[in-house]
Symmetry: C2
Subunit: 584 residues, 2 copies
């Protein structure tokens, strides 16, 4: 039997195949003894076994028909009807029926944007708080402005159907169903098409490392989607390498393929791949890249990995996972600590200007040396990887939203932070609103539909921050309170100076030479904390101290400055506190 | 700080440094607050912190001095004296003191054998049952005979100090201390030297995937040697990638280096590497190979891996772990099922002649297809790897000893099994005694010193085999009974026909061309189950049926036959049941 012939490799879920017929296919390792069926328009149609616990049938049905799979059809107490694990549409949320989706009905008006990594500028946005309406459609009007600013791709926080109407999206359950409260799959197609029309690519954040707790029971009714072989921070580990893992792998792989093929997404951002455990000879993370690239060789796979491991972005022939790019948190931490002075938690081991200097070369500051936060040597050198394989940022949903009060980077730190990030040799990512100095927080919010999970989420949040005595007296915002969500919506009140700076930084960025940083020099003593980074004929000069200093440069032109007070002299550039200048 | 300067990289344990002085060094992440000392000749000497919870001192001491480390030296109730985790000598077993060992005192008489993988013929031996005395010294007299037979390396089952006086050795605790009941480190040096003098290399079986339960408490007193991040079949997972893992990694790496450098072992066989979990950017299994090869580029690292994953034996530049060779259980299973008809447990999915035919090309029969035993797709193709990177066998300590009654391959199956194994293109490994048709079983035996573990081992063994109804009425041998051990000792009563066949097979093996199998043909129907494998000008012909058949070959010479009744005809070779012939 050729590998492609395993029945789990065929389309799972509900796939319209020809005029008025839909192919239904489900993996049911459990609940199959007394028959497996699909319920369409109230009628149960038994499915036929294809082997390996896969059940399927082609039946009369149309786009828009609601359906559920029925396990143990002939059980005395009646079968158990459940949503399709591979559902592409959950119009009534997690607990409602699935709905047949024919993605071919959408009339695309624009071509794919195409992504050229050296020119990539990402913009992370959360659909629910990006506009007052919180929908895919409402986001559309803002896209041309982003393109005009210099953004080349939006990165959409997870949209896989999650509990309730509000949430960050990392509790998603139906991996292939665009969130109903955002406007469902049709709405997402419209957003992608509009982005392409505006000249923007779309990267979608997908969560394959765990499943939202609200969906675990409904999934486990079908089979062992989870394994106790490995431990994850967020709960049960998805079964990628234990018995019966192949249909689970197909569930994920087909979801990834569907976003690329049917929703024309230009890339995927894989959430926390360090929590995806797979010790098999065919790691799911490598196979996923191969499958995505087979559909579209220009599609990007961007990993969030907490391991500082260059193997993630090495090609498979060098034993890598073949991802196109990886998030580089160390660049953020090195930068943030310099511009804010914070030293709590994982910031404890940053603070030296040398760290940021190193990060400008390759952003793994920990590339093998001891990490006091982790109490072990951490990471490996990534000198063999290209700069455009690293995504850097000075803010993102986690670094803002996982603070007790979801506060963005303090205003005095913003200009210098953006200067370093946007003029770095890496792929920069903006967090929605930072481009005009948004002051609204991005809080942690949820809308859990299971009381037990709602309480655990609320209490977990409080407990997490109770450790910080500074917050003990204050009230940690309640994630379940709709007001917490409302407060996180963008106000769109601009700081004109910041807005102009971002525009100028993104413009200048395009004039900088490709390739990594050249010479890196710095000072880190009480008289001055400065950094100078060469990029071809250009040099970045930064002052991380509070008082004005002169940073030594040999340059004849002040190309760009974060502040009006910056002056170029013979042999140096005079920078006020927390300021930067590009010279040549 | 350069990586080599981390204090855990310095020699751990007791290292004689110069005339009359010993450097003591220990990692004590626990029990350090009230002082860490070494007790030598009844006197406590405080150790000085070197950072990262490493404590050390150079003190007057000699080879042969007993010592213990003392944790919480100034505790009111008195410090806690424990053996050295890196002990190289435990003359009184697991619970006795450690003893200073100066390996430089041994006067080596012979040079290393040097290993040439294409010429490698391994011989697995268990020191305790190889001779009536069960010691390193007693084994020596049998070495010249093995070399003369055609064996080129002995593979010594684990000798790291384990509980009691009898055991397979996979319960070892002190990784670097040669088992006291076998004769201790001096005895092991004598064995290695004698092997080299006889022209044999020595491969040592080392267990880095778990620790014998009897030692867990004594180790954990010092620090987190274990982690709950991963699950292993045998208990707590060794901490290779969690907080504080670096000194744990050094404990293992220095042990591996010590066997190679100080005991002049020619290679290591790593037990069950699929149970070594390490998700860091520097996998311990890769680092271990680098360190071993840095000491001696010809030293072999041979992995036992249950994943059929060719990455284990790919070089690091191709993203592999860089091991020289890997065990290939599939070859055994495919062969065993054909010659015995057994189909229990993991044998269930073997039985086709095609499986063995495939295994002759590359021995991963499962190289990506579905394994019904594991209920998942399993393995990956290894076509890019050389044949001498796979170790094959028709018997080994597990395949014999993990049977309820430890019975060796049935006599009628032995000749054909040896024929296939020894004439395969892979590295063959014999299990002690099979070369002359030994009939003594190799039972599971132990000598646990902790009553709880003894009871659990005995009952676990009974429970394991109670599932097989055929055995329900019979008594499963008690592993703790010394008689079980005694019954497993070699009788050395030879079957002269078998002995002659092995000698001839190993002789002919050297005449076969290097490289993999050429044409593979087979029949698998009621009229005949036969296999023909081309190796250059030679062809192997096998009959797996019970009745005589003619296997089609075009050959003019019958080079070797397993049985006298074999006849070469025009166009075929006539083979009785379970027989093989090499023709050309």
């Amino acid at each position: 039997m050729s590998h492609a012939a395993y029945p789990w490799e065929r389309p799972l879920g509900a796939t319209p195949v020809d005029d008025g017929r839909v192919e239904f296919r489900v993996w049911a390792a459990r609940g199959r003894e007394r028959g497996v069926a699909v319920r369409v328009r109230g009628e149960d149609h038994p499915l036929e076994p294809e082997g390996y616990d896969i059940y399927a049938a082609r039946l009369p049905a149309l786009h828009g028909d609601d359906y559920e799979f029925v396990l143990d059809l002939h059980a005395q107490e009646g079968g158990r009807a459940l949503p399709d694990p591979c559902s592409r549409w959950q119009p009534d949320g997690l607990r409602g029926p699935s709905r047949v989706l024919d993605t071919r009905r959408f009339e695309w008006t624009a071509r794919r944007a195409g992504i050229n990594p050296p020119g990539l500028v990402l913009y992370e946005l959360h659909v629910g708080t990006f506009t007052p309406q919180g929908t895919f459609d409402a986001a559309i009007e803002h896209l041309p402005g982003l393109r005009e600013l210099g953004v080349t791709a939006i990165e959409v926080m997870p949209i896989a159907e999650f509990p309730g109407r509000r949430g960050w999206g990392y509790d998603g359950v139906y991996l292939s169903a665009a969130q109903s409260s955002y406007g469902g799959p049709d709405g997402f197609q419209r957003l992608v098409d509009a982005a392409h029309a505006a000249g923007l690519a779309v990267v979608l954040d997908v969560v394959y490392n765990h499943l939202g707790a609200s969906g675990v029971q409904a999934m486990e009714a079908y089979g062992p989607y989870f394994t106790s072989k490995h431990e994850t921070f967020w709960g049960k580990s998805i079964n990628y390498d234990d018995a019966d893992c192949d249909p689970v792998r197909s569930w994920v792989l087909q979801s990834a393929e569907g976003w690329i093929r049917d929703f024309r997404v230009d890339g995927l951002r894989l959430d926390a791949i360090h929590a995806i455990h797979d010790e098999s000879a065919h790691p799911i993370l490598q196979v996923l890249c191969e499958r995505v690239h087979a559909l579209d060789h220009r599609a990007l796979v961007i990993a969030e990995s907490g391991q500082n491991d260059p193997r993630v972005i090495r090609p498979a022939r060098e034993g890598g996972l073949g991802h196109d790019a990886v998030w580089a948190d160390d660049f953020h931490h090195a930068l943030r600590v310099l511009v804010t002075g914070e030293r709590e938690g994982y910031y404890e081991e940053f603070g030296a200007v040398a760290d940021l200097g190193k990060a400008f070369k390759r952003p793994f500051v920990h590339d093998g040396q001891y990490s006091s936060f982790r109490r072990r040597r951490f990471g490996a050198p990534a000198r063999d990887r290209r700069p455009e394989q690293f995504v850097v940022f000075d803010q993102n949903h986690d670094q803002v939203g996982n603070r007790a009060f979801g506060d963005r980077l303090p205003a005095p730190a913003r200009r210098l932070a953006a200067f370093c990030t946007l003029l770095s040799p890496f792929v920069p990512m903006l967090f929605m609103g930072e481009e005009y100095g948004e002051d609204a927080p991005f809080l942690f919010f949820s809308d859990h539909i299971d009381e037990e999970i709602a309480v655990a989420t609320r209490e977990g949040r409080r407990r997490e921050f109770a450790a910080f005595t500074a917050f003990a007296a204050q009230e940690i915002p309640d994630p379940q309170d709709e007001e917490t969500f409302r407060r996180s919506q963008l106000t769109r009140l601009p700081d004109p100076g910041v807005e102009a700076l971002y525009r100028r930084l993104l413009e200048i960025r395009r004039a900088l030479p490709a390739g990594g940083a050249d010479e890196v020099r710095y000072g880190d003593d009480p008289d001055g904390r400065w950094l100078r980074v060469g990029r071809g004929a250009f040099a970045l000069a930064c002052n991380f101290g509070g008082a004005a200093i002169e940073v030594p440069v040999e340059a004849s032109e002040l190309v760009l400055a974060t502040h009006d007070a910056v002056r170029l002299d013979d042999g140096g550039v005079l920078l006020p506190g927390l300021a930067g200048a590009l010279v040549r």
